[in-house]
Symmetry: C4
Subunit: 292 residues, 4 copies
C-alpha cells in the first residue's frame, strides 16, 4: 500500500517533457491530466478527487439495505457516470503516454483499469457483490492525484522512516507472532476444558492472543478460568511493554535520520562500524559489503 | 480545538497597555478581568474557573434522570446565577476592550456569547436539549483563564510539535483511512453472508475496521468466520505497527526542535538540502521557495 | 505514587552515620533494618519483601468466596503473623531513628502504621471489608525495600523524565478531558433519543468518550446510530493521533536530558533563549526569572 | 524468548571451522546443516523452515473439531513425517558437533529434542493434549534458521535497546503492577456490593484493572456504579499517560545508542557523571564501580 504513494519512478507519469512531435492538443491534454501546475491541471485533479470520492461513497451507500431499496436508481446513475468518466480518463491516458504498454501494466495502470472494469463486468455476470471491493480500489487512485497536489514530502519522510526500520520491524513482528502462537496455545490448553468455552481450537485461541497483545480486546472471547485470566494478564502486560519497542525503533531511526541525514542507520555486518554514509556500498573500515 | 490555546494573537486580550484616556475605574477593571498579575486579577481568574466548573457540572448533572427529577430547582438556580455572571462578564469585556467589534467576532468572543445565550433562548424555545452542547462550550473558556494562570509554555511546545508534524500526520491519516476502508470492505464481503451477522453494510464494516485498527475494539461487532478473524488479526497487527509511525514522527520532530531549535525540519523540495533555519523562505543552496 | 519511590530526602531513612553515642546493639539493628550493604541487612530486606508479598496475597485470596470458606483459619493465622512482624518492625524503627516524630509523620511512617493498624481495628469494629484497601497499602512498603536493593537509578530516570514533562503533560490531559467532555455530550445528544439506549446521561457518555479515546473500548456502551458511530470513529481516530503527543513529549525530553544532561529543557519565558543550564535561575540572555 | 534470537554464543552452532580430522562426508553434512552460505546449506534452511511451518500448522488444524474429524488420518501422516525429519536432524546434529553433551543441554538442543519427543510419548501415553504446546515449541526452532538467513542485525538492535532499558522497564512494571493492585482493590470495594456484580473477588478486580490500564478492555467485566466508572475513567487515563513512559525510555535509549554508540546510557552511581564508554567498569571521575 505504501509503495503506492510515490510512483515518480514511473517515467510515464512524472515526465513533464513530452516529445515535440506531438500535436498541440495532445500536449495541452497532457498538461491537464498529468500535471498540476497549470490552473486547468489543478482543476482536473480536484474534479477527479471529487468523482473518486462520490463513486466510492455510492458503492458504500448501496451496501446499506435501506438506502439500496430506496435509492437504487439514482445510485446506479451516479455509478455509471463515474464509470464513464474513469473509462474516458483511462483511454486518454493510454493515448497520451509514450509507452502505453508500460503504463497499462504499471501499478496505477492496473488500478485505473480496475476502476472502470467491474461496472461493465456486472452487466454480464449478475449478482457480483464481490466486485465491490475491486471498485473501492478506486481509493488508491487518490494517492496519485494527491501526489501532485501536495503533502508528498510528509509521505516521503514516513516511507524513509519505515524503510530504515524495515529489518527491525520484521524481526519484531516475527517474534510477536510466535509469542502469540505460544500464548494462544497455552490459553487453549487451560480454557478448552471449560463447559461452554469459546476457545474451541488453537487458531481461535491464537486469534484471541493477537487481539489481546495488540490491546484491541473485543471481548467476544474472554478467559473464564483463574489460570486463563492470569496468563491473559501476563500476556497483555507483555504486549503493553512490546508496543514500546517498535515505537522506539521508528522514533530513534527518524531522529537519527533527521540529525545525520547522510549517515546510514546500520552498522557494518563485518566489523560493526557505525556512521556509514547512506550511499556507501562497502564498509569504510573493513571493506565488507553493506547490505541494502 | 488546539488553536484555542494561544490566542495572544488577539491584541484585545493580550494588550496590557490600555489607553491613558481611560478612566481610572475602567483601568482597574481591565487589570482585574484581563490580567493575572495583580492579586485581584488572580482572584478573578480563579473565581471564574470555579463558576465555569460549577456551571458545566450543573449541565452534566441535569442530564442524569434521577438527579433531574429530584434537584431540578436548585440546578436551575445555579444555572441562572452562572448565566448572569457570564452575561455581566461578557458586557464588561465589550465595554472595556478598545475595539469591541473585533472582540465580539473573535474566537473567545463567540465562545463567551455562547456561554450565556442558550439559557435565554431556552426561555423562548422550550425543549431545547440541543442547547446543552453549546452550554458545554463554556469549557473552552477555561483555556483563556488558564493561559493567564500558567502552563502556557507546555501548550506551546505541544502545539509547535504538532505544527511541525502536520503534513506528515495528514498523510498518515489519509493512508490509514483508505486502509480502513479497504479492510472494512473486505470484511464486509467475508462476513455479510453469515446468518445473523452484525456486518450489515460497508459503512458499518468500515466503522469496525477503524475501531479495530485503533485498538479500541468495543466488541459490539466481531468477526465470526475463520476468514473474517484472519483478516481482523492481520489488520489489527498492522494497526499495532502503524501506531509506531505517528509517535515516531512526533518524537523525532520534537527531539529535532529541542536539539536544533533554529533549524527547520523540512528538506528543500528542490534540491533536498537539510538544515534550513526556521525563518528561511528560500533554500540556501538552490534558491527554491521553501513551503511553510 | 511515584513520589514514593525516592524518599532519600528523608534523612532518617537514608542517613548511614548514626550517632556514636548509641549502644552497639542499637547500631547493629540500625544496620540490619535501614541498610542493605551487610549480609544480614540484605537478608532482612529480602525476608521483609517475602512477608509483604505473603500478607498481600493472603488479603487477596481471602476475598475469593470459595477460598474464604475453606481456608479462613490458616489465612487468618498468616495475616496475624504478618501483622505482628510489621508491628515489631514499626516499633523498632521508631526506637532506632533519631527523630521519631519526623519518621511517624513521614510518608513511609504512615504507610508502616497503616500496615499493621487495620488488623487491630478489625478486632474492635467487625465487618470492616473497607480496611482491605488499607492493608494493601503494604504494597507501597515494597518501594522502600526495593530502593535499597537496587533499581533506583532506573526509577530516578523515569521520575526525572516525568518531572521534565510535567507541565506539558498537564496541558495535554486538560485538553483531552475537555475534548472527552465535548465529544461525550455530542454523543449523548445523538444517541440518547434511541429506544433502549445505554447513553442515559452526559456523565455516562463522557465515561464512554474517555474509554474510547484511550482506546480501551469495553463495549458495555456502544453507539448504535449511524451518526453516533461516525462521531465515535472520528473521536477514536483523534485519540489514536493524540497518544503520539505525550509519547513524543516524554521521548524528546528524555533524549534531550540524555544528550545534554546539564541543559534545561525549557526556553526562557522572556526572550525564548534555549539551552539554559539546569541550575540556572535567571536567563543568561535577558535576565528574566526562569520558572522551576 | 528474546535471548533465543542470538545463540552465536553457543560455539557448536556458530563454529565454521570443523576439525580437519573429520571425514569429508561429515564436513559436507556440517556445511549443509550448520551453515547457510552454500546453496545446499541455504536449501536445507529453507526446507527446514517449511517443515517447521507445516508441522505447526498440522498441530493447529488438528485442534479444530471439524477438521480433526474429517482429516485426522492425513494430518497424522504429516505429523509423523515431520517428526521423523526432526528426529533425523536431531541425531545428525548430535553426531556432527564436537561436544554433543554441550549441544544436548543447550537451549536449542532441548528445543530440538522437544520437537520430536512428544509424538513418541503420545504413542505410549494416550490422550495427551498437553503435549500440543510442547510441539508448538518447534516454532522456536525458526529463530535458529532465521539467524542464518538474515535479519539478525535488526534483532540485535532490538535486544540491545531492550537490554539498555532493562532496569528502567523493571521499575516501570513493578510500579504499574502495584498501581493495578491498588486500583483493582478500590474497584472491588466499590463494585462488589452491587447485585449480580462480576467483581466477585480482589484477584478478578485486579485482572480488570490490568486489562483496563493496558487499554485492552474486553468488556467481560465492566463497572456499573457511578463511582466505579469514575475510578475506571481515572485509571484508564493514567494508563494512557503511563504508556508514554516506557516508549519514551526505549526511544531515548535507542537514540542515545544510535548517536553515541560507544557511550553508556548510565550515570555513575557514585558521582552521577555521564558519558562513560560502554566498556568502562569504573567511573572515570570518581573511580566508583559502575554496575553492568
Amino acid at each position: 500500500m505504501f509503495s503506492a504513494v510515490h510512483p515518480p519512478d514511473d517515467p510515464h507519469l512524472a515526465a513533464s517533457d513530452p516529445e515535440p512531435s506531438r500535436s498541440e492538443f495532445k500536449e495541452r491534454l497532457w498538461a491537464i491530466i498529468f500535471e498540476a501546475e497549470t490552473p486547468s491541471g489543478k482543476f482536473f485533479d480536484v474534479a477527479l478527487l471529487w468523482v473518486i470520492g462520490i463513486s466510492v461513497l455510492a458503492v458504500m451507500l448501496e451496501s446499506v439495505e435501506s438506502i439500496h431499496r430506496q435509492y437504487h436508481q439514482p445510485l446506479l446513475v451516479v455509478e455509471w457516470i463515474c464509470t464513464v468518466v474513469f473509462t474516458v480518463e483511462y483511454i486518454l491516458r493510454i493515448w497520451l503516454v509514450r509507452r502505453p504498454r508500460r503504463y497499462i501494466f504499471s501499478f496505477y495502470g492496473i488500478v485505473d483499469l480496475l476502476s472502470c472494469l467491474p461496472s461493465y463486468l456486472a452487466l454480464i455476470f449478475t449478482g457480483g457483490s464481490h466486485f465491490i471491493v475491486i471498485r473501492l480500489l478506486r481509493l488508491l487512485r487518490m494517492f496519485r492525484v494527491l501526489k501532485m497536489v501536495g503533502h508528498v514530502r510528509g509521505a516521503n519522510t514516513i516511507l524513509r522512516g519505515l524503510a530504515a526500520s524495515r529489518a527491525k520491524i520484521t524481526v519484531f513482528f516475527f517474534s510477536m507472532l510466535i509469542f502469540a502462537m505460544l500464548a494462544g496455545t497455552l490459553i487453549y490448553i487451560v480454557e478448552s476444558g471449560e463447559p461452554g468455552t469459546a476457545f474451541t481450537s488453537i487458531p481461535v485461541s491464537i486469534y484471541y492472543a493477537i487481539v489481546s497483545i495488540t490491546t484491541v480486546g473485543y471481548g467476544d472471547l474472554a478467559a473464564q478460568t483463574v489460570l486463563g485470566r492470569l496468563i491473559t494478564a501476563l500476556m497483555v502486560l507483555a504486549g503493553y511493554a512490546i508496543i514500546a519497542v517498535p515505537t522506539g525503533i521508528v522514533a530513534s531511526d527518524m531522529v537519527r535520520e533527521a540529525l545525520h541525514p547522510d549517515e546510514s542507520t546500520d552498522a557494518c555486518p563485518g566489523c560493526g562500524a557505525h556512521g556509514h554514509l547512506n550511499d556507501a556500498v562497502y564498509c569504510r573500515k573493513c571493506g565488507e559489503l553493506l547490505d541494502d
